[in-house]
C-alpha cells in the first residue's frame, strides 16, 4: 500500500504539472485524464471502490469527453498559441507558493484528531462501500440528493441557452 501510494502520488503530481505547463490544450486534457486515473487509484487504496468507479466514469469519461469535444470544436490550431506574460508567471508562482506554504504550515502545526466514526475499514469491507453510500444517500442526505437533480436540470437548460446561436 505504501509503495502504491508513492507511485500514484508521483503520477498525479507529474500529470498535474503537465496539465498546467503544456502549450497544446489537447495534451493538457489527456494528462488531466491520467491525473484522474491516479486519483481513482488513491480512492481504491482508501477502501472506496465506488468513488473510484464514479471518478473514472463521470470525470475521466463524461466531463473530459465534453472538454475534448469543445477543444476540437474550437479549431485547435488557432487556440494553442496563447502564451502568458512573464510578470503573470512570476506573480502566479508566488501566489501558489505562498498558498502551498500556508497549507503545509497548517498541516504540520495541526493536532491529529482521533477517529470518531464507526465506519472502520473492516466494517466498510464487511457491508460493502456501495451499499453504505447508497444507504446514506437515500436517508440522511436525501435533500441534497434531490437538490442535485434540480441543479443538473438547470445546468442542461443553461448550457443550451449559452451555446445557442442567438440570445
Amino acid at each position: 500500500m505504501e509503495a502504491l501510494f508513492y507511485v500514484f502520488s508521483f503520477i498525479a503530481i507529474f500529470s498535474a504539472l503537465m496539465v498546467v505547463t503544456m502549450r497544446n490544450p489537447l495534451t493538457s486534457a489527456l494528462y488531466l485524464v491520467l491525473c484522474f486515473f491516479a486519483l481513482a487509484g488513491f480512492y481504491v487504496i482508501l477502501d472506496m471502490q465506488f468513488l473510484a468507479a464514479m471518478q473514472i466514469l463521470v470525470y475521466a469519461g463524461a466531463i473530459m469527453v465534453l472538454v475534448v469535444l469543445v477543444i476540437m470544436l474550437l479549431n485547435i490550431s488557432r487556440i494553442k498559441n496563447i502564451g502568458s506574460d512573464l510578470h503573470q508567471k512570476i506573480i502566479g508562482g508566488l501566489i501558489s507558493l505562498i498558498l502551498f506554504a500556508e497549507i503545509v504550515i497548517y498541516i504540520i502545526n495541526g493536532a491529529e484528531k482521533k477517529p470518531t466514526g464507526i465506519f472502520t475499514g473492516a466494517l466498510i469491507k464487511k457491508i460493502g462501500n456501495t451499499q453504505i453510500i447508497g444507504e446514506f444517500l437515500f436517508t440522511e442526505y436525501m435533500l441534497p440528493f434531490e437538490i442535485a437533480s434540480i441543479l443538473l436540470f438547470v445546468a442542461i437548460i443553461g448550457a443550451y441557452l449559452f451555446a445557442k446561436k442567438k440570445y
Binding site: 488513491f42 496563447i82 497549507i103 470518531t116 465506519f119 445546468a155 451555446a163
Partner: protein
C-alpha cells in the same frame, strides 16, 4: 495521513497556479477541475482516517456540481469563441458589445 494532505495541497496549488497563469479559457477550466479533484481526495482521505462516511458522500455531490459546472463553462467557452474568435481570457474585457 499527513502524506495524503501534502499530496492534496501540492495538486491544489498546481491547479491554482494554472488558473492564475494560463490565458487559455479551456486550460483554466481544466486547472479548476484539478483543484476540485484535490479537494475530493482530501475529503476521502480525512473521512477514511476519522472512520466517517460523510466525506465520501460529499465527494459525490462535488462530482455532480463539477459536471453541471462543466456543461455551463463549456457553453460559455463556445459563446465566447463565437463572439471574439478566440479563447484568450484577456479578450474578455467588456460585458456587452
Amino acid at each position: 495521513m499527513n502524506n495524503y494532505l501534502i499530496v492534496v495541497s501540492i495538486i491544489f496549488c498546481i491547479g491554482a497556479l494554472g488558473v492564475i497563469v494560463r490565458k487559455n479559457l479551456i486550460v483554466v477550466f481544466m486547472s479548476l477541475e484539478l483543484m476540485f479533484n484535490a479537494a475530493n481526495l482530501g475529503f476521502v482521505a480525512v473521512s477514511n482516517r476519522l472512520n466517517l462516511i460523510s466525506g465520501d458522500i460529499f465527494v459525490i455531490f462535488v462530482i455532480v456540481v463539477a459536471a453541471a459546472e462543466a456543461a455551463i463553462a463549456l457553453g460559455i467557452a463556445i459563446a465566447f469563441y463565437r463572439e471574439k474568435g478566440t479563447v484568450d481570457i484577456d479578450k474578455a474585457n467588456e460585458l456587452k458589445n
